[in-house]
Subunit: 105 residues, 2 copies
């Protein structure tokens, strides 16, 4: 089962590290407990919408940017999962077409 | 404050209506209480990641599709909010450039 909170946690941590901020700094700015923020980042706790908004503000990042990144990462995960049930061979005529296309370039 | 759960609720309801399903059908398939799902759709309750996954499955919609739609709608809201602090006039030279560009087409 793909869990949204794990991607939210990863994205929040990545944005924090990108901004070179510590957990303590973000927790302080967002007025949330440090231990709680740490659990959210590790995907162990669900963050309420209010806390998400506060943390996004602390990271100076629009919540839409965070949620789009979450959606993109979920798509990669779901894409990978979908791939695993798709055969890893292609019909010969498609392979020939692809090779021909490569040759033209 | 922009609340993620309100957009999640709107998106879940829109996808449900698109599929012409009732609250009762989705709640049944997702094994969540009807009243709870209704509150989630109205943005009154946070849905846990497990419930989001179940509801997405009940709607036969990847969770990544739902979260990307949430991100897109949040972006519109934040864009509108950002617009309200941007002056609604443009420098004269930009307006002239824009008019010239239109004239060429």
């Amino acid at each position: 089962m793909v869990l949204v909170r794990q991607e939210i946690g990863d994205v929040l941590r990545d944005y924090r590290l990108q901004k070179a901020m510590t957990l303590r700094q973000v927790a302080g700015r967002a007025s949330v407990a440090l231990g709680y923020l740490s659990e959210v980042e590790r995907g162990q706790k669900e963050a309420s919408s209010e806390i998400l908004a506060s943390v996004a503000e602390a990271l100076e990042t629009p919540i839409s940017v965070i949620m789009r990144e979450v959606g993109d990462r979920l798509a990669v995960i779901e894409g990978v999962e979908a791939d695993s049930v798709v055969p890893d061979t292609l019909p010969d005529e498609l392979v020939a077409e692809f090779d021909a296309d490569l040759a033209v370039r």
